[in-house]
């Protein structure tokens, strides 16, 4: 079965078991090579760069975006703590390649570009990668990592959960079938 269905199946199961799953991907990484890069660390510059990658994926609109939610620091922690060596290497390769590819493509540095330019570039890269434009299979992988960590970090952040979504810590009741109109925000968690 494909991933979305697995994920939905697992989610519905966790839901009824009373689990508190935040991101469903956790279950899918059943294999776990313990080997990690020792002393992996990210500089302030790295964090600022990752902030902007996240912001290009989830930019500020009328609601603050991923950068305001501290996405760079979140990504760094997740890569350090939850990725194995192979995943860490793919992620780091993604950071470096994205920087150089952007420069080749846009004739300016990623950090000097506008959010719109960065978003457009990442979309182009994602589209090309999904269409098999590149032989290197790492490209769709690290684009997927950027997307995954940004969405997880953003929608579970205080800004994401309580501004982009509706966060109700203690609902106190269950209304099984209420009216919904387009534009109403989804419940957080």
């Amino acid at each position: 079965m494909n991933n979305i269905n697995r994920r939905e199946a697992i989610k519905s199961f966790v839901l009824m078991m009373g689990g508190t799953m935040v991101g469903a991907n956790v279950i899918l990484t059943g294999c776990a090579p313990e080997d990690r890069i020792e002393d992996l660390d990210f500089s302030e510059k790295d964090l600022a760069y990752m902030d902007e990658i996240g912001e290009a994926i989830i930019p500020a609109t009328d609601i603050p975006g991923a950068k305001a939610a501290g996405i760079g620091g979140f990504m760094a922690m997740m890569v350090k703590d939850t990725y194995d060596r192979e995943q860490q290497e793919t992620f780091l390769k993604g950071l470096n390649e994205t920087k150089s590819r952007f420069k080749d493509n846009n004739d300016k540095a990623f950090m000097d570009a506008s959010v719109e330019e960065r978003t457009a570039f990442l979309n182009k890269l994602k589209k090309e990668a999904n269409e098999g434009f590149y032989e290197d299979e790492d490209i769709p992988k690290y684009i997927g990592m950027f997307q995954d960590l940004t969405l997880l970090g953003y929608f579970t952040s205080e800004i994401g959960a309580s501004q982009a979504l509706r966060f109700v810590e203690t609902p106190g009741r269950y209304d099984p079938c209420i009216d919904y109109k387009k534009g109403d925000r989804a419940w957080a968690i």
């Binding site: 078991m17 609109t61 579970t156 982009a164």
Partner: protein, 559 residues
């Protein structure tokens, strides 16, 4: 020389042990409750229960360190940074897998009552009669009518939300109002009823979450964070329910960090006189005496305590004279089913996070139907609208995706099957003769597997789920089978089964060990067959019934 004497000792503080402590103390006995792990205080020790998502560092994901430290726990969804303290330290308490066996253990006060799935179903006569009718294993020494009043008794106290559905295959109980279906579930249930001519029923899950207050328990707040401990006493756990009742009697002593090494057996009186424990913190050894002992350490550990007891009389331990101690291990096999998407209902949503969904009771091999396997299976499931984690592979990054993901996505519905495993004598656990744990006790060797009957059943378990969803108009229906290893159902049963004959069973019809009548086993070890239903409610009923019997026997001076 014993440290102290009590009327009764209860080993284990989970669902069964909590009930034993409550019943025995309320009947006036001085009870020592032994728990192998640390104290967990109601509310105070639920340290992640009220945290917001952003206060959970990895947002529920697994760190590499967690995976390293929990080689068994990581095999399933239960490994989670939010309640990591409530699972056994695997390196301290290893076990040997002669065949793959996944053992999820809760070593703290309350045991797995803090962590359980809370699905609560009665077994019925089709279940209690099945072994006898089919000539499988041995007959249960009880029938539904023997347990029915005790089911009622425990349901009223524990608080079970559910509907009275009037199905002979799944007896009704004493229920609080059910947690309602959402719009999609309501329609799917109706369509299944219509399409299958009333032969298959999608009913409300019966869950030990209270929809009305009980003393000291405000009730479910629809947070769906049960497995972190509930500050509202929203679900049944030892801490929320049985322990406060037991403590209120003034008759209860709790001793945490008490790992029971063995029962002390007196061969002249053919009784156990007490227990020997090893302190889990300082490794000191203590003895406690009592008139009666309730073993409620969960099926696997209860059997291992018996195996370590009275070995001077029976080399394989107390209760081994039958040749059945540690045999007939059962669980529920699962991790397969189907799911799909539901068109429409875009103008419908729900409020609150309901800790339950729907249940489809067994419908196979009822009446005259004969499949190519015996027994059957049930389903648990639910429908919901997807959230921000839905697949957005084709979506463009930027404001458009952001806005889209702030709204709920399409509806989906899924169900997971839980099937009965037959009691096979050859599915067994034994004590290693060489390997020991941190406290010098021989570790267990697990030698269990599902067999032809279960594997044939799994074909139906998967296909029937898809068939029902398709019949109900669900789109993009796909089946899944994520594979099953023994133990993953976290419903270990059968290691000291009840029966009618001491030659073929470890316990009699009142849960007394045939070879030591003042020793009672009332956890999953006692189960003679597994049925397809989640078993904990049956342990509660067996425990309350056995406690009543034990106290009456004490009064009559028969124990």
């Amino acid at each position: 020389m014993a440290d102290q004497s009590y009327d009764a000792i209860v080993v284990g503080s989970g669902i069964s042990g909590g009930w034993a402590a409550k019943e025995l103390t309320e009947k006036g006995l001085k009870v020592l409750l032994l728990e192998r792990g640390p104290m967990v205080e109601h509310v105070k020790d639920y340290k992640n229960a009220t945290k917001a998502p952003w206060e959970i560092p990895h947002r529920g994901r697994r760190t590499v360190e967690m995976l390293e430290n929990h080689p068994n726990l990581r095999r399933d969804y239960v490994l989670n940074e939010l309640n990591l303290d409530w699972w056994a330290h695997e390196s301290d308490s290893p076990y040997i897998e002669k065949k793959p066996f996944t053992w999820f253990r809760g070593y703290q006060l309350g045991g797995r009552s803090l962590l359980w799935g809370r699905q609560s179903y009665r077994l019925g006569d089709i279940d209690f009669e099945a072994n006898a009718k089919q000539g499988i294993a041995v007959d249960w020494p009880v029938r539904y009518k023997d347990l029915a009043p005790w089911y009622s008794y425990v349901e009223k106290f524990a608080g079970i939300a559910g509907n009275r559905d009037g199905l002979p295959e799944l007896p009704d109980g004493e229920f609080m109002p059910a947690m309602p279906f959402n719009c999609v579930e309501t329609d799917v249930a109706k369509r299944i009823k219509d399409k299958f001519g009333g032969a298959r029923h999608m009913i409300h899950a019966r869950v030990a979450n209270i929809t009305q207050p009980l003393p000291g328990r405000p009730g479910c707040q629809y947070r769906n964070k049960c497995s972190l401990g509930c500050p509202f006493g929203g679900y049944f756990s030892t801490q929320a329910s049985t322990l406060p009742a037991a403590e209120a009697t003034g008759n209860l002593t709790i001793r945490p960090w008490s790992i029971v090494h063995k029962l002390i057996y007196d061969k002249d009186s053919k009784r156990a006189t007490g227990v020997e424990i090893v302190d889990g913190e300082d490794e000191s050894v203590h003895e406690y005496n009592a008139k009666i002992i309730f073993l409620c350490a969960s099926a696997i550990n209860t059997a291992s305590i018996l195996m370590r007891s009275a070995t001077d009389v029976w080399p394989d331990g107390l209760g081994s004279s039958s040749g059945e101690l540690g045999n007939n291990v059962m669980d529920h096999h699962f991790r397969l089913g189907a799911n799909g998407t539901v068109d429409g209902y875009e103008d419908k949503y729900y409020f609150g996070r309901r800790p339950g969904g729907f249940y489809i009771p067994r419908f196979r091999n009822l009446g005259n139907e004969k499949r190519d396997y015996v027994r059957g299976f049930g389903y648990q499931g639910g429908a919901s609208r997807s959230g921000w984690s839905r697949n957005v592979a084709e979506l463009q990054f930027g404001p458009e995706m952001k806005n889209l993901l702030t709204e709920p996505g399409p509806w989906s519905i899924g169900m997971t099957a839980f099937g009965e495993i037959l009691p096979y004598h050859d599915n067994k656990i034994t004590l290693s003769k060489t390997e020991k744990d941190k406290w010098g006790m021989y570790v267990l060797e697990m030698d269990c597997e599902i067999r032809e009957n279960e594997n044939k059943m799994r074909v139906d378990m998967m296909n029937d789920a898809a068939e029902m969803l398709e019949a109900a108009g669900v789109k993009n229906v796909s089946t899944y089978d994520n594979g099953y290893t023994f133990g993953q159902g976290i419903h270990e049963m059968g290691t000291a089964r009840m029966g009618r004959d001491p030659k073929t069973s470890v316990l009699n019809g009142n849960n007394q060990v045939w070879d030591a009548k003042n020793v009672f086993v009332t956890d999953g070890a006692a189960m003679t067959s597994a049925a397809a239903q989640n078993p904990s409610l049956t342990y509660m009923a067996l425990t309350a019934r056995a406690a009543d019997f034990a106290v009456n026997e004490l009064k009559r001076r028969n124990l």
